[in-house]
């Protein structure tokens, strides 16, 4: 299982659970598992084109997956994933 920390803005999707456990071998499959368990999260994290939303950051064991292999980054059981929105508060 992979442990995923959910940002506060998306807690309505998870029944207010801040941390959820899902199966997955890559970040993409983790997000797909989140969508199965908590419908709507896929749209919140990825655009319809399948890529990560520009102001959503996903960290695997503290590393931004954009600097790893993006959505294809491999995850292992026991890993921790954090989802945040980026700092874009100028408007």
């Amino acid at each position: 299982m992979v442990r995923v920390h959910i940002p506060s803005q998306l807690l309505q999707r998870t029944g207010r659970r801040r941390v959820v456990d899902v199966e997955g071998g890559t970040i993409r499959s983790v997000i797909e598992a989140l969508e199965r368990d908590y419908p709507g999260l896929l749209f919140n994290i990825c655009r319809e084109t399948g890529d990560l939303r520009p102001f959503v950051n996903v960290f695997l064991e503290g590393e931004d997956v954009r600097y790893l292999a993006g959505l294809e980054t491999t995850v292992s059981s026991g890993d921790t994933v954090h989802i945040f929105h980026s700092v874009a508060g100028g408007s």
């Binding site: 749209f43 655009r47 319809e48 084109t49 939303r53 929105h85």
Partner: protein
């Protein structure tokens, strides 16, 4: 006694105001708090309220409320582009409940796309004809994005409709949305090599005459126009306006040759001089008069109004409402002759829409 409700969509939330007499106003509710609301509508057929939740972080979506904004729900199947389209939703711009098609609601979005629901907003589908338009690859966005911001369904012909897209222009369908044609003849494009191209104009707002279905009015980036033939061509009706750059346009449904607009300095995007002014024509744009009784004046008065920031209600004499990009709402209950500020210190106002409740 009827009551007037004003939905004020702002950069941070939706404000609901009401009045029994259109003179004394109160703010009843601040809902959608923290959300970027471009547009909201109350469907008088069902009492269902719709609002856009434009979220740069986690994706934009349409929400609806069946308890006057106390709680909000997402549609069962919302507005999401199919992956094969290669498009991703940016912002929702306009919500138009149909006046005479049961259950039907329209939404226009960025990237330019028209969405339709036939079950009061629960399930949404994309208009394919617009999506596959042969000129689509050459459409360019305006400053606000490639936004479909005006939806005018012809009340006299169920198959005819006009839409406004910045910066594509006015488009018309005559077969219920299967095919669309550009309808911009004689509207200017001052920002390209060709002054009167087939498309590429930056239309800002489009409305239809309630009694003469072929008569349309638009406020454009480059002028104010009227069409007398359903958009086949357009007539410049700027006449004595101090400028031709503005965003909103509205009309008095009981006197539809009476138009309202706000033109602004093109670069400052605020009123000319020191007087915030609404402009009214009572002869379909033949001439314009300045309305300023009750509107602010002074050295620091620099107010702008966005494309959905003006609304004329359905009463006679009609009420006119203007929301500014600095958080004021001004209202007139006498066709614009006099004004009062009915709200201040709001976030920047994106849209106002009045609904008369029985």
């Amino acid at each position: 006694m009827s009551r007037t409700m004003l939905l004020a969509s702002t950069k941070r939330g939706l404000f609901l105001l009401s009045s029994e007499d259109r003179k004394e106003w109160q703010i009843d509710r601040h809902t959608m708090q923290g959300k970027v609301v471009y547009n909201a509508a109350l469907d008088p057929r069902t009492g269902r309220m719709f609002a856009t939740d434009n979220n740069v972080f986690f994706g934009s979506k349409l929400l609806y409320s069946d308890d006057m904004g106390e709680t909000w729900q997402e549609p069962a199947r919302g507005i999401e582009f199919p992956e094969a389209s290669g498009l991703a939703l940016q912002n929702l711009w306009i919500i138009e409940p149909s006046e005479d098609e049961p259950g039907r609601v329209y939404v226009g979005v960025d990237p330019a796309s028209l969405w339709v629901s036939d079950d009061n907003g629960e399930n949404w589908s994309m208009n394919e004809g617009l999506q596959s338009h042969p000129t689509r690859e050459r459409w360019n966005p305006g400053n606000g994005g490639l936004c479909l911001h005006s939806i005018v369904r012809d009340h006299s012909d169920k198959d005819r409709m006009w839409i406004g897209i910045s910066a594509v222009g006015c488009m018309r369908t005559e077969d219920g949305g299967k095919t669309w044609t550009h309808a911009n003849k004689n509207t200017r494009q001052d920002f390209g090599p060709e002054l009167y191209p087939e498309y590429g104009q930056c239309i800002h707002r489009l409305v239809q005459h309630p009694d003469k279905p072929d008569v349309l009015y638009q406020q454009n980036h480059c002028g104010v126009y009227m069409s007398e033939n359903g958009g086949d061509d357009w007539i410049d009706i700027r006449n004595n306006l101090p400028g031709d750059f503005g965003f909103p346009i509205a009309l008095d449904r009981h006197h539809p040759e009476t138009l309202y607009t706000v033109v602004v300095e093109p670069w400052g995007r605020h009123n000319y001089g020191d007087q915030f002014t609404v402009y009214r024509s009572q002869d379909a744009g033949g001439s314009w008069e300045s309305l300023s009784d009750g509107l602010p004046n002074g050295t620091g008065v620099k107010l702008g109004v966005l494309r959905h920031g003006m609304w004329a209600d359905t009463a006679d004499p009609c009420g006119v409402y203007v929301g500014t990009n600095t958080g004021q709402i001004f209202a007139s209950d006498d066709r614009g002759d006099s004004w009062q500020m009915i709200a201040d210190f709001l976030p920047p106002v994106n849209a106002v829409r009045a609904v008369t409740l029985d």
